[in-house]
């Protein structure tokens, strides 16, 4: 071969060698990490040790301790950006993430941290900022170890959000929503089919001074960090409104001015539509804490323990009802509770499964006629013309139609909630 040809071939070979060397300089690092996420539990409404807490799902022993961040999507995020892998936490707050990252030959995979954003693992709901943005919960960075496997995982440790001196309100809010899903709504096939993609926006006390829910948009607004510690009357109740709406879409009862009062309470007198709407949302939410056999379920707005007077199992009883008691939301709550619970059955006589209540709501026909979903509204849906419509009385007709059981004694024994 001539010298110039040899030189050309030599250059070509060297070039090829250089090319292959460079192309294999980028490698992939990979591994498996594990860890545990916790938060300091500071939500109120637990069943106190001073009461009988049979069938209570949240008890005093669960309060003010480090608790798992359950059922959340978690991400392994590289320092400088980029998601390397993702996973979910289980009931213990444990996660495992397989990760993969390109590195230069001989380089280390660098550092990464765990981030979570308040997104439920199955897409049931997600925490958002008041503008619909993402909240970021993060951990310090850890140096990743290349080559770890599922049987030899790298432990990133246990990370805790909040402490006894400084609880993290958002983490508590997320837990309240998880509890509502896990211990209440998940019991309904109807909700398993439809309760998805719900946004829980925190915090906006201007638009919703005491929290609110929009069923059509599947959006809840929590007013303030204080409400994060009042799960029963806030996030659980609002999720109850969404669930009620998803069972049967309808126009809201927008008039809460019965008797000239502003807003509502468990013992205020209300138009029957508003009273029932609040009662059904309350009942749905209360079940996240008190199941069927609970002898002393309570329901209130508090970041501590509900008082004995907020017991929703106890009823005044037929013949001794106070004036106006029929219009109080707590009256309708007690009626609903009696249909569900297995307590004091000699007077109650019914024990319907939680899922039946969603099914009964679904039986409301479309339209504004009697027993229909938009009964409080006129035919055109432009104004209210029957503020006592779509009441507990109407619900009674539908659940009796669904179950074939009379609820007359439950109704009258709980001061016959108002309705037409």
């Amino acid at each position: 071969m001539k010298t110039r040809t040899k030189e050309a071939v030599r250059a070509l070979l060297l070039g090829a060698l250089a090319f292959f060397t460079l192309s294999t300089a980028a490698e992939a690092a990979s591994g498996v990490v594990r860890g545990r996420l916790r938060f300091y539990q500071n939500q109120g409404n637990y069943c106190p040790s001073s009461r009988t807490c049979t069938a209570a799902r949240y008890r005093q022993a669960d309060y003010n301790i480090n608790s798992p961040v359950r059922d959340v999507k978690v991400y392994l995020v590289a320092e400088g950006g980029g998601v390397l892998g993702q996973g979910t936490t289980n009931a213990n707050g444990d996660y495992q993430i397989s990760w993969y990252k390109f590195t230069w030959w001989g380089g280390s995979p660098g550092r990464a941290r765990i981030e979570w954003y308040g997104e439920h693992r199955d897409g049931r709901f997600a925490l958002k900022t008041s503008a619909g943005g993402r909240w970021v919960f993060w951990t310090p960075y850890s140096t990743l170890t290349d080559g770890t496997t599922a049987s030899n995982r790298q432990n990133l440790g246990t990370r805790t959000w909040g402490s006894s001196s400084s609880p993290n309100a958002l983490a508590n809010l997320y837990d309240g929503a998880v509890r509502m899903w896990r211990d209440a709504l998940n019991s309904s096939n109807r909700m398993r089919n439809s309760f998805t993609g719900v946004e829980i926006r925190a915090y906006d006390g201007t638009t919703c001074p005491t929290s609110c829910a929009n069923g059509a948009n599947k959006r809840i607004i929590i007013d303030s960090s204080t409400s994060a510690y009042r799960p029963q009357a806030r996030v659980m109740h609002e999720m109850g409104h969404i669930a009620s709406y998803l069972s049967k879409a309808r126009r809201a009862c927008v008039d809460y001015t019965f008797g000239g009062n502003n807003g509502w309470s468990m013992t205020s007198q209300e138009w029957a539509c508003a009273g029932f709407e609040e009662a059904i949302a309350t009942f749905f939410g209360d079940r996240a804490i008190y199941w069927q056999a609970s002898p002393q379920p309570t329901s209130c707005l508090s970041s501590g323990v509900c008082p004995n007077s907020s017991n929703v199992e106890t009823s005044t009883g037929s013949g001794s009802c106070a004036a106006g008691e029929a219009r109080q939301p707590i009256t309708a709550v007690r009626y609903l509770r009696d249909l569900y619970d297995s307590v004091d059955e000699t007077n109650d006589g019914n024990r319907f499964g939680y899922s039946r209540f969603f099914d009964a709501l679904a039986r409301f026909d479309n339209g504004s006629g009697n027993r229909a979903a938009d009964e409080p509204w006129n035919w055109w849906g432009t104004s209210l013309d029957d503020r006592d419509g779509r009441s507990a009385r109407d619900f009674r007709a539908h659940i009796e139609g669904l179950t074939g059981s009379s609820t007359s004694s439950n109704y009258t024994n709980n001061c016959s909630p108002t309705g037409d």
Binding site: S130, N214, R251, A252, V254
Partner: protein, 188 residues
Amino acid sequence: MTSVSRMLRRGIPSFTVAMALSFTGAAAFSTAPTTEVVPVVRGEAVVALPAAEFGHELEAKIVLERDERDSIAIGAGAELRLSVKNRFDAEARVTYAVEFVDEFGFEVDRPAMSDVFVVPARDSAPVEIELPPALEEGFYLARITVAARSGDESADDMIEQGLGVVDGEALLLTDEEWLEWSNANGGF
């Protein structure tokens, strides 16, 4: 340069709570006819609610209201000026507790509790909270918890007020500013 200074010099926009939300009644029902909003009374104001919104949730009988200022000059006499509103129909006996922690949850001052005082029915009273002396630059949280009793009824409320101390001033942060700017959302 501290984290607070860097944050402020970058001009990170505040996350205000006064924002326009898009979920009005017009967006709520895709198949319903145009629906008149019904003016109702919410709190002390008459507002019009869209037909798809479930609101008017339970109001607390005792309410702490925030200091409306944007910042407080650090120094002798620096204080948070809140108020407590009694929504009971009778006078209430009230007390409150104050805690100050830093962004990592460590106490910066001993917790304090007020004497019991009386607030007339449907009336308000000022709550003045002295800031810890000599706060260094950084992020802090003031947690004020109030408890009230009126007759046989009791109620409670709480405010968490984030503070960003820089250049001799304590900025009063919104909930979102506190969580976004401080280490409060870090898991340790």
